[in-house]
């Protein structure tokens, strides 16, 4: 979302507070929830969280037997269930009457949270290992690989572009696509209730921060370019001296040695 007029200001969990039920709000909810699933699953793997997994099978009662009998559940599964409880609870604790905007917003958020979770777990990369007789494939074990979060982020960005506008159904209890010409809403899609406001000008009511002062790219013609980003108001250019690490020697984890170089750059910001 870097190259968009919309600025994701404090898109972190629990502070997701974008006033308008726009597609940006949908994205913010989705990525925050996906982040929770990712972080929890990751922590599970490292063994830092004590409550992970191990309850896939209902068979034996005691944990120890469960572990010997059926192994432990998948970490993503735990992350998914955790995020369901942790993120969705905020939406579920409110009670809204039918047809109320509050209910619409709640339903929208719940849907987008689910879409965020699904972006992570319904596209796992499956890896398999053959380990049968003499290493043949008579026995094959597969598992879920968690892709890097960057991949999930890119997928969510695509979902943002293809999100679907929704409205209440006739009974006022569910959200359906606003226009029957749109495609049907899938669980993995982002949904929104209202079109995005003009993010060019700041407006506390809509949650828009405006693009004044945003950095832009002088040579680009797309959303990150100065023309579109600054909404034709023009841009300021300032000269800055940048000190950075350079001529570095880097090994797989760490810098070995670097020089500090100073270089002059031009920074363009919107008026």
């Amino acid at each position: 979302m870097v190259e968009s007029r919309f600025e994701c200001f404090l898109c972190s969990l629990r502070t997701v507070n974008i006033l308008l039920p726009s597609r940006e709000a949908a994205y913010a909810h989705g990525i925050a929830t996906a982040g929770v699933v990712f972080a929890v699953s990751q922590a599970c793997r490292e063994g830092y969280l004590t409550n992970c997994g191990c309850s896939r099978k209902k068979r034996p009662n005691s944990l120890h037997r469960d572990w010997i009998w059926g192994g432990c559940g998948d970490n993503i599964e735990y992350g998914y269930r955790f995020a369901q409880g942790f993120v969705d609870i905020r939406e579920r604790e409110k009670n809204h009457p039918r047809r109320s905007p509050g209910l619409a917003r709640t339903l929208m958020n719940l849907h987008n949270n689910e879409a965020g979770r699904r972006a992570l777990y319904s596209h796992p990369e499956i890896a398999c290992k053959c380990h049968g007789v003499s290493g043949s494939c008579s026995l094959k074990t597969c598992w879920n690989q968690l892709a890097s979060f960057r991949v999930t982020g890119e997928r969510l960005r695509q979902r943002y572009d293809s999100s679907v506008r929704v409205r209440f159904n006739r009974r006022g209890t569910k959200l359906i696509r606003a226009n029957s010409r749109f495609r049907k809403v899938h669980k993995e899609d982002f949904v929104y209730l209202e079109e995005s406001p003009d993010y060019c000008v700041p407006n506390p009511e809509t949650g828009s921060l405006g693009t004044v002062g945003r950095r832009c790219d002088k040579n680009s013609d797309d959303m990150g370019g100065c023309r579109l980003m600054c909404c034709d108001r023009g841009y300021k250019t300032r000269k800055a001296k940048l000190s950075e690490r350079c001529h570095c020697k880097f090994h797989w984890c760490c810098f070995v040695k670097c020089k500090v170089c100073e270089r002059i750059i031009y920074i363009h910001t919107c008026k």
């Binding site: 793997r45 997994g53 572990w67 010997i68 003499s134 026995l139 879920n144 570095c248 984890c253």
Partner: protein, 538 residues
């Protein structure tokens, strides 16, 4: 086998009963796997903890562990300020994998029911234009594997193996762009033939040596995941119980069979000896040696069970060839193993290739569990060479078998047209031969087809990750079902192809004979033979 076998003398009703009960038994085998047993294997996906080893020189004798008293100091990510400030170098970072990981607030321990552990590594590599990334990157790991038991102190880790391993990274870099994740193939890591201890610990270092170009071109390494695969305890229990039940059953059938053969007035023939061998190898495969692993440290179990399976396959393949040969009906006296040297040579060659390969892989792993023949280019070439040679031998074998079966079938058709003209005794003899041959062919084809079909379904369905809980464990059902099926097959052969007392009484009354050429010597059927030969040469 000129006398009848049980199969011929069995009344139709009895045969149906037998078939039905064996079929029921077979279904039971599938259900045991599908309903009682859990998934055959379990996967633990463990993220390596990045411990900092700031003190202590290059001896690297200290164990680093991530949980428990005296655990190491670690960082979550390499962009942690500590790395920069303390000038931590690559040689001071240890990837630590301590498993099993705790679950549900409990520190779990490995069970001996897990039998063995196989592990692979998954590297989380990222592209950075500042960091060299070779076209054919090679990673050098200083890996150490240790164990600890329940009542040991936190730091009481004992070394199992230590090795410097070099692995080729096969990576796919889509775009050379900052932060672009690089997809790399899984690296084979270690295989332990025994899961005897409670806790295991892996320490990996990736030392950098610029002069030797060691670990200089592997990009930015963010994380290492270790995937540990082991049989499920529940599955091992079901599997072992199955074997424990099957072993005495098979032994009883064998004793019954051999008793019948010994009772015959003539010495046993080749086919009977072959059946005995098949039964013995099946019984050997059923022998539940795995019980001992619960008390004794047996790191050679993986190798042992592979060899057992190999012996069974060798004997089964040889049996098919000899069975077809003995039912050829072409007036050639066989009944000697030497005559099958070409066919058996192919079987032996293929099996020896696989055996040598097995020794190269799992045999070496007895001393160094980190060893893998596939890890290096030259090693994998050697591995492929063995596998290809074995495949060629398998192809040659199947060509032989198909030719033999084809010839036998042609003989059957020509004999069938002649049956009406034959004398009663000869007709009975040939009918019996044809019946026996067809029965085994059918049974073998059905068993082989079921194995192949289930195998393919297994390969395809495993590719899809099942999110929902499913009550039927397909893979376990496949394993127990197929294992049970071959047991039923061998049992069936031993029972149905055992010499029958009934026919013996009838036939020996008239012809005290059991070899084709003896029958042919009798003037009674001499004419028929001449007739047959004429037709054959036409």
């Amino acid at each position: 086998m000129a006398e009848g076998v049980v199969l011929e003398t069995l009344s139709n009703r009895k045969l149906v009963y037998l078939t039905m009960s064996l079929l029921l038994l077979q279904i039971t085998f599938y259900l045991i796997g599908g309903l009682i047993a859990p998934a055959p294997t379990n996967v633990q996906n463990i993220l390596g903890t990045k411990c900092l080893d700031t003190g202590g020189g290059r001896a690297w004798t200290k164990w680093h562990y991530s949980r428990g008293e005296g655990r190491c100091e670690f960082v979550d990510e390499f962009n942690d300020p500590r790395i920069m400030m303390d000038h931590i170098s690559t040689n001071e970072i240890v990837f630590v994998f301590q498993f099993p990981t705790p679950r549900g607030g409990h520190e779990l321990d490995m069970s001996r029911w897990f039998q063995n552990i196989i592990s692979v590594l998954q590297l989380d590599v990222e592209y950075n234009p500042d960091v060299q990334f070779d076209d054919n990157p090679v990673i050098t790991m200083d890996a150490r594997l240790g164990y600890k038991n329940k009542h040991d102190n936190h730091s009481d880790w004992t070394e199992i193996a230590r090795s410097t391993e070099i692995r080729d990274l096969k990576c796919n870099l889509a775009k050379r762009e900052l932060g672009q994740p690089i997809e790399c193939d899984l690296l084979p890591f270690f295989e332990l033939g025994s899961c005897h201890h409670d806790y295991y610990l892996i320490n990996i270092r990736l030392p950098v040596d610029e002069k030797r170009m060691m670990n200089t071109g592997i990009g930015v390494l963010n994380n290492i995941y270790m995937i540990a695969i082991h049989p499920n305890g529940g599955f091992s229990k079901v599997w072992l119980s199955l074997k424990t039940c099957l072993f005495p059953t098979m032994l009883a059938v064998l004793i019954w069979f051999w008793h019948r053969v010994v009772q015959l007035p003539r010495p046993s023939n080749l086919l009977e000896r072959m059946l005995l061998a098949l039964g013995l190898t099946m019984a050997f495969l059923n022998l539940p040696v795995e019980w001992f692993t619960l008390w004794i440290y047996m790191p050679y179990m993986l190798l042992f069970s592979d060899i057992r399976q190999g012996i069974f396959h060798t004997v089964l393949l040889s049996f098919w060839i000899i069975f077809t040969g003995e039912h050829m009906m072409d007036q050639v006296q066989r009944n000697r193993l030497v005559l099958y040297w070409k066919h058996l040579g192919a079987v032996a060659f293929g099996c020896i290739c696989l055996f040598v390969f097995e020794l190269c892989e799992r045999g070496v792993q007895l001393t160094n569990p980190f060893y893998s023949i596939w890890a290096t280019t030259s090693g994998s070439k050697l591995g492929y060479a063995f596998v290809i040679l074995a495949s060629v031998a398998a192809c040659v074998y199947f060509v032989f078998l198909c030719v033999m079966v084809g010839r036998a079938l042609i003989n059957i058709y020509s004999k069938r047209s002649l049956l009406a003209t034959m004398s009663k005794a000869r007709r009975k003899y040939y009918k019996g031969l044809i019946y026996r041959f067809n029965f085994l062919m059918m049974m073998t084809v059905v068993c082989a087809a079921i194995t192949v079909i289930f195998f393919i379904i297994g390969q395809v369905s495993e590719g899809q990750w099942k999110w929902n809980e499913n009550s039927l464990e397909y893979n376990s059902a496949f394993l127990t079902g197929v294992y049970g099926m071959w047991n039923v097959y061998v049992c069936c052969l031993l029972i149905l192809y055992a010499p029958s007392h009934k026919t013996k009484a009838v036939i020996t009354g008239r012809f005290p004979l059991h070899h084709k050429h003896v029958i042919c010597a009798i003037t009674l059927c001499h004419q028929n033979v001449v007739l047959e030969k004429e037709i054959w040469f036409r």
